[in-house]
Symmetry: C2
Subunit: 146 residues, 2 copies
């Protein structure tokens, strides 16, 4: 079963109706693999599939996020970014200076995650964290400038 099919099935299982718009949005999301803003998804659909109203895109993304089929993250680009929730959570290091995005394996956060769960009975949604900072290159550049 394709990954796309699996997505469609999950939507169905939650009792959502499978409309043309929804399957198109899922397809676009799958094709864009990686994060995508509502706007980007909308564009992709306009250029590769039929058309779906932007407000429908927003409504659908919100619904899928609530069902935890998608994760929503703020990558510091001034808009929400969505992604299909992976079996394996993954995170991002975002350089505040050059904008570079580095993938970060979930293993780095497991200790913190466990401690938080243990000490606060708080279940963190750590499937897609954004950590801002300075990358190697920009750190250097800044050191020189000082």
């Amino acid at each position: 079963m394709s990954e796309y099919q699996a997505l469609v099935d999950r939507v169905r299982q939650h009792g959502l109706r499978l409309t043309r718009q929804r399957s198109t949005i899922l397809r676009a999301l799958y094709e864009l693999h990686g994060h995508a803003s509502a706007e980007k998804i909308h564009e992709r659909i306009r250029s590769h599939h039929g058309d779906v109203d932007l407000s429908t895109v927003y409504r659908t993304l919100e619904k899928l996020r609530d069902l935890r089929i998608l994760s929503q993250t703020d990558l510091g680009r001034g808009c929400a970014e969505f992604e299909v929730v992976a079996r394996q959570p993954h995170h991002h290091l975002i350089c505040q200076s050059c904008g570079r995005v580095i993938d970060l394996d979930h293993a780095y956060l497991v200790p913190a995650e466990q401690a938080i769960r243990r000490d606060f009975c708080f279940e963190p949604t750590l499937d897609h964290l954004a950590i801002f900072g300075l990358c190697h290159a920009c750190r250097r550049a800044e050191a020189v400038a000082d």
Copy 2:
């Protein structure tokens, strides 16, 4: 020397002009201790001090953030929140269901921070992280509902 005076000095040290607006914004920020949105700061100023244009508030906050005098965080309330950077970093657990905010000591993130620095030569700005999830009470409520 008061904390407020220290703030003013830091602004000066960075070569910024100390205008009436800027010192008012710093004062409001100090008085509000804790996070505050541009809007909230603006309101505080209107009710307790003279008046400063909202756009000036935005411009100032941006500048102070760039100088790392302030930290900017997205606490999921649909607007940016600012806070004077503390000597001691601190973080927040935010319940996606009820909106409750729980303080999280920096110690929880030290291992991750060190590993990231070591493995990626990436300097994370971990002075104010927001971790979303479900608090104890909401976890329970959800378990019952299922």
